[in-house]
Amino acid sequence: MATEVKLFRSWSSRYALRIVWALKLKGVEFEAIFEDLSNKSSLLLQYNPVHKKVPVLVHNGKPVCESLVILEYVDETWNGAHPLLPKDPFAKAEARFWAKFSDDKLMPLIRKATLGNGEEKEEARVLTAENLKHVEELLKGKKFFGGEKIGYVDLAFGWMAYLINVLEEVSGATLIKKEEFPLLSKWMENFYEFPEFKESWPDHDRLITKFKNYG
């Protein structure tokens, strides 16, 4: 039944997109509930009283919050199709490490490097380039971070496939040059072109407007 699984999301939330992708990969039917984050619904506040954010996955009436937590829940619950995390404990630990790296280290740096100011912006650009080298290294000999198939780490880094271009355009800074990061550039292309995700990308122009207003 489609209504067994609901996903509270917004038009642009990069975190909610991770869950959209995961559910699509697993072939799970779900109802998407779009929230206007400037006017949050009482349902959202009821399901996520702690953070009041999207995404929230509601499965059989029970809410799960925090995108990386939701991804693991989805992987463990719908464990037949398309595994997202590897079985081996060490490989799993590495996957979790890189997902945290995306959110805790890379995202804030890229935000500062594109939307930040003055010295902070320049410092962040240097650190971004250094940290992107780790990501490039991860892709050696692989099409996706997950190997042949899209996995947990791909979904964690997925925001890069559409947001880097937007942030580069808004800021005039180039963070990912093909010559410097050939594997990462190719991965971004492959992820963006992945057939099942074609309809998922937020409107580019609308994103430009959103980030131009971040000031």
Binding site: V50, V69, Y73, K92, A93, F97, K100, H134
Partner: protein, 227 residues
């Protein structure tokens, strides 16, 4: 079944390192503790955690695992046969455990740390936000513990380890400042849980006592600060 050398690189004053030690103790895994000075950072640290250059690092059969929450889950999965599970087995309960661990690390812990350096005029507002957070945690404790001693029920689990590991230095801070963070009247569940956690067999020899923290502080204040 996991086998081979197990090393923990860290400092026993770091609650993040303590998480790893507690998890290994729960699984009865013998390990070598390699003390990391951090000033300067050792070759081993730079080699085993090149991305963050931070402790703790778990080195198992020459494989390096970094980030305390990742390490604790790894320990649970690499030694499934040993002792009880650190995370629950049901996917929803696991999601709840991961949620509260992330809440503590991302939201509550930074606020508590801020207490040490907050300006007097901003203290009241900070304390109010912390109290709100502790209220949420109290509710979570009641729901998760179901009347038992720990978030994990009868036995220490993931939330206990992640949150409880900070209560060594939090207790020391309370004694030094004379101000209680956890009050029995406000959060009776958490209040009772802190002592039970700190005196648990897997924990009691890991987390430094208040006296040890005070000695460390005295040492640090006596030296001229480097870097």
């Amino acid at each position: 079944m996991a086998s081979g050398g197990v090393k923990v690189l860290g400092s026993n004053y770091s609650p993040f390192v303590n998480r790893v030690q507690i998890a290994l103790n729960l699984k009865s895994v013998e390990f070598e503790f390699i003390h990391e000075n951090l000033n300067p950072k050792s070759e081993l640290l730079l080699k085993s955690n090149p991305v963050h250059k931070k402790i703790p690092v778990l080195i198992h059969d020459d494989k390096c695992i970094c980030e305390s929450s990742v390490i604790v889950q790894y320990i649970d999965e690499a030694w499934t046969g040993n002792g009880l599970s650190i995370l629950p087995s049901d996917p929803y309960d696991r999601a709840v455990a991961r949620f509260w661990a992330a809440y503590y690390d991302d939201k509550l812990s930074p606020m508590v740390k801020e207490l040490r350096s907050v300006k007097e005029e901003e203290r009241a507002a900070l304390v109010e936000r912390i109290d709100e957070g502790l209220g949420l945690l109290e509710e979570a404790f009641v729901k998760c513990s179901k009347g038992k001693a720990y978030f994990g029920g009868d036995h220490i689990g993931y939330i206990d380890i992640v949150i409880g590991s900070s209560f060594g230095w939090i207790t020391a801070m309370e004694k030094m400042s004379g101000k209680k963070l956890i009050e029995e009247a406000k959060t009776p569940g958490l209040f009772g849980w802190v002592d039970k956690f700190l005196s648990n067999d897997a924990v009691k020899d890991v987390i430094p006592t208040t006296e040890m923290f005070l000695q460390l502080l005295a040492k640090m204040q006596a030296k001229p600060t480097a870097s």
